[in-house]
């Protein structure tokens, strides 16, 4: 489902973050050089000009596709009507300015705050119930010795990631829906049917369960890579010192995973307000917006469905600002934990 018509600042913030570690990697010898600030700008420029030239295409792409569209956010300060012209820029020029009215409306709109609340609840739920699962799975897979069994179980775990949400939800509906397999089985044995798919009270758990089923397997890839880089010598040395399996995991494996966990955690927090657009939109009417409206569907509903584009853009901007705050906070925590996070000061 396309939501590209509405500028989303969340994604842009994310792109910037993803570029940050790459920039670090681009200057491998950095610590050995004298502190950068002491050299003249020209000297540094001449030294690095080839490197800079090589980054130029990427910079241009980022500018064109990430920064230029950000300018479209001006519609948040307008009563934007995209239909007065075929050209979006002309439409912007001709739409009336309303100042901060859209933002004022947002802060007074209980539906918006309901969406914020749902989004944060889902985020916390996913952080607690979803985030640790790929780590556990990776440890489990890593302990499998036979390559064949390992390859098969990895394939089985990755597969659901490639199913579309429509399919996943249809399967859930067939199994757990009000007239689904489980409900009819219960009815056959004299119990009441279940309404798991349409119960607003348990909806957030349902959504989390769907995410786990679909994507937890896929999430282990990064952790497996990190585990593969742990030198076997460390395990051998630890074993020689008499460490049992649990102690080896605690003192060798987990410390090796720590930087990756911290990095992914920070990235996840930056993405906190993006809790699954398509998945939730598909089920929004099944439980009603009271339980299912999240910020992304709120923006979509007001922008695309109600054509209140200025209002939707304003909501998207607020989301972007909150996301930025969360990233900064999480990064701070990562630094306090002694990890790199997504960038260093």
């Amino acid at each position: 489902m396309s939501h590209s018509t509405v500028p989303r600042t969340g994604t842009e913030a994310e792109e910037v973050n993803e570029n940050a570690p790459a920039a670090h990697g681009g200057a491998p010898g950095a610590p050995k050089e004298p502190p950068a600030a002491k050299q003249g700008l020209r000297v540094r420029f001449r030294r690095d000009r080839v490197l800079l030239l090589m980054t130029l295409p990427a910079v241009l792409l980022v500018l064109l596709f990430n920064y230029v569209p950000i300018l479209g956010n001006v519609v948040a300060f307008q009563e934007y009507d995209p239909y007065i012209s075929d050209n979006g820029i002309v439409s912007i020029l001709h739409s009336p300015w309303v100042g901060l009215e859209n933002f004022q409306r947002i802060f007074e709109d209980s539906a918006f705050w309901n969406a914020v609340q749902n989004t944060l609840l889902l985020f916390v739920l996913q952080l607690v119930l979803y985030f640790p699962i790929p780590i556990l799975l990776a440890l489990l897979i890593n302990s499998v010795v036979r390559p064949r069994v390992r390859a098969i179980s990895q394939a089985v775990l990755y597969l659901p990631h490639f199913f579309s949400w429509v399919l996943v939800i249809a399967v859930f509906q067939q199994l757990f829906g009000g007239a689904g397999l489980l409900s009819q089985l219960l009815r056959d044995h004299g119990y009441d049917g279940l309404s798991l798919m349409t119960d607003p009270d348990t909806f957030k758990f349902l959504v989390t369960a769907q995410s786990v089923w679909k994507d937890a397997g896929w999430g282990i890839i990064v952790f497996l890579a990190a585990l593969a880089s742990v030198s076997p010598d460390l395990y051998e040395a630890a074993a020689m010192d008499g460490a049992n399996r649990w102690r080896r995991m605690w003192h060798v494996t987990l410390p090796a995973l720590r930087p990756v966990i911290a990095l992914l955690l920070v990235l996840r927090v930056g993405d906190a307000l993006t809790v699954g657009f398509e998945q939730i939109l598909l089920q929004r009417d099944a439980v009603g917006p009271g339980a299912a409206e999240v910020l992304d569907t709120f923006v979509w509903w007001n922008g695309v469905r109600n054509q209140d584009f200025g209002y939707a853009a304003a909501a998207g901007l607020v989301k972007g600002v909150i996301s930025l705050g969360l990233v900064l906070m999480a990064n701070k925590v990562a630094h306090l934990m002694g990890e790199q996070g997504v960038y260093k000061k």
């Binding site: 018509t5 239909y83 007239a179 349409t198 099944a286 469905r305 109600n306 054509q307």
Partner: protein
């Protein structure tokens, strides 16, 4: 509202002509002012309505084309009905010369059900007949509102976009005025005579096609009687000895009796639309139809007691567990309810009356016992219901204003074929497809094949249709049932104050009632309370509803009430 569309074509009769001109003159006589652009700063021709002399200048001339005399003439606003045997060998040709010039025309249209493959035999044969390369972009009709706004905001608007009246929410009316072509130069006055089948479309349907002071739409004329029929499995009713309910209490009792979840059977789907009719709630089909004058004061449908009562009753149905669990999913359940209805998983549902025939045709071959029938809408207390008229045209096709004249002409060539009246070769091609592929003829009766039921659905009928006609040569008893149902319901149907007018609300009010449909669905499923609706109504009033009332009052004062 999302009724299944597609009225099945027609031969305009003298009676329906008379009926339609009567309405048109009423509108003309009532409206001395030309363009009623009301309500302050928005001004201009973007909002308001067009009536009187201004409308008269835009409207196409009417030239009746009687091909076959209907067996059941129009009464109480019903469509005309054809129940006799169709002379397939003697079909007339209403388009003697191919008008199409072979241009490619893309059409975006709502589709209820599963669209057939591109390039199927039906699309190919229609394109050959018309001489235009029509490429369909079918979108799910149940969630059409969610696609429309985005497509119209893009720079890739198809050549033709079909927009049902109930999807004209938010800024869609502004998009219609901004993005679609003025067809006046091609159709106003005598110009329409180049397209004789379009000239035979009743004037009241054209009157409704004026948007922002210009003739922009190609209408699908319809009966003004509600299209939403409570359809039920008559065969199962007979087998189980169920009586057709005559009041809300009887319905509830029957529903409880018929439901047996363990045997995978529930009484019905979401009956909200029927509840609105049973309680006499003003129509939600179009914003302007929701307003009416009560004791000299304009009232909107959501402000009425009946609205709340209808929601409460529907909520009780859900709470009693007699509604099929799939219906709880609301719009997320975009699957076609047909197979589960055929399997007897539920016995009653409400949909557009066209399904009365299409379900019959679908099941006729594999499931000979299957019998679907429409029950009369009951008054909630067991008395006669009060029904509110829908507009005489509710679905329109619009042409992109960027389309070249050649493309516009080709679209009109398409419309001229799809609007062919009953009894013509073009009607058969549009509604039945190709003989041998989509239908077979036995004893002079055309019967749709499986492929016919897949290919020949929606699509071409959405571009333009003849005056409201019901004719099913394969199932004449269904045609008779449908027309008689319309006539019985038409007898208790009243017209609200803004009936027949095409009204565009000022931009600042267009989003006011956006969320009510969602709220209704929440309430009947027990997720929100009636008090939440009352709160939303009072918010609606203070956020602009009362000002909107004043705006409508001005239109009413200038044009006169159409109520009756």
């Amino acid at each position: 509202m999302t009724p299944n569309a597609a009225s099945h074509s027609s031969g305009p009769s003298r009676r329906s002509f008379l009926a339609s001109t009567a309405v048109a003159t009423a509108a003309v006589a009532g409206g001395m002012p030309l363009l009623a652009a009301c309500g302050g700063s928005d001004g201009g021709s973007r909002d308001g309505t067009t009536s009187g002399k201004d409308a008269k200048k835009l409207l196409p001339a009417y030239v009746a084309s009687n091909v076959v005399t209907p067996d059941i003439p129009s009464k109480n606003g019903s469509a005309v009905g054809f129940t006799g045997k169709l002379d397939l060998a003697g079909l007339k040709t209403s388009v003697p010369k191919k008008l199409g010039k072979g241009n490619k025309v893309t059409v975006m249209s709502p589709f209820w059900g599963s669209p057939p493959k591109d390039g199927n035999a039906y699309y190919t044969s229609m394109n050959d007949l018309i001489g235009v390369d029509v490429v369909w972009q079918n979108q799910d009709g149940n969630t059409y509102d969610q696609k429309l706004g985005a497509v119209l905001a893009s720079s890739e608007v198809p050549d033709v976009v079909v927009v049902p009246g109930w999807n004209m929410t938010g800024k869609i009316p502004s998009a219609i005025i901004g993005k679609f072509a003025d067809l006046g130069p091609y159709l106003s006055g005598d110009a329409v005579k180049d397209y004789p089948n379009l000239a035979a479309i009743p004037t009241d349907a054209w009157q409704r096609s004026i948007f922002g002071g210009k003739l922009r739409g190609l209408p699908m004329p319809s009966s003004y009687v509600t299209g939403i029929v409570p359809l039920y499995r008559q065969d199962i009713f007979e087998k189980e000895g169920y009586e057709v309910p005559r009041s809300c209490d009887e319905f509830m009792a029957l529903a409880k009796d018929a439901t047996n979840a363990r045997a995978k059977r529930w009484a019905c789907l979401d009956m909200k639309w029927t509840a609105f009719n049973a309680f006499g709630v003003l129509s939600g089909n179009e914003k302007s139809l929701g307003w009416n004058e009560v004791d000299g004061k304009l009232v909107y449908r959501i402000e009425t007691e009946e609205y709340l009562e209808a929601l409460e009753w529907t909520r009780k149905l859900f709470a009693a567990g007699v509604v099929h669990p799939d219906a709880k999913l609301g719009k997320s359940n975009a699957t076609d309810p047909g197979p589960k209805f055929a399997a007897g998983e539920f016995l009653i549902y409400n949909q557009d009356s066209s399904q009365w025939w299409s379900r019959t045709a679908e099941q006729a071959t594999q499931n000979p016992d299957f019998k679907i029938w429409g029950m009369d809408i009951f008054g909630h207390d067991g008395g006669a219901p009060t029904l509110w008229a829908q507009n005489p045209a509710g679905i329109f096709a619009f042409i992109n204003k960027k389309a070249s004249e050649a493309v516009v002409r080709d679209v009109l060539a398409v419309a001229n074929v799809t609007a062919a009246p009953y009894g013509t070769k073009e009607y058969m091609a549009t509604n039945y497809g190709v003989e041998g592929t989509h239908y077979t003829v036995k004893d002079g009766v055309p019967t749709k094949t499986d492929q016919g039921n897949i290919d020949v659905m929606n699509a071409y009928v959405m571009v333009a249709s003849p005056a409201a006609t019901i004719a099913h040569p394969d199932f004449p008893e269904v045609a008779k049932g449908q027309v008689e149902w319309q006539q019985r319901m038409g007898a208790v149907t009243r017209k609200p104050a803004f009936y027949g007018m095409q009204i565009t609300e000022p931009a600042r009010y267009t989003n006011l009632s956006n969320d009510f449909e969602q709220l209704e669905d929440d309430v009947v499923r027990g997720r929100k309370k009636i008090s939440d609706v009352q709160q939303a109504v009072s918010d609606w009033k203070s956020k602009g509803g009362d000002k909107l009332r004043d705006w409508y009052r001005e239109i009413l004062d200038e044009n006169g009430s159409a109520a009756g």
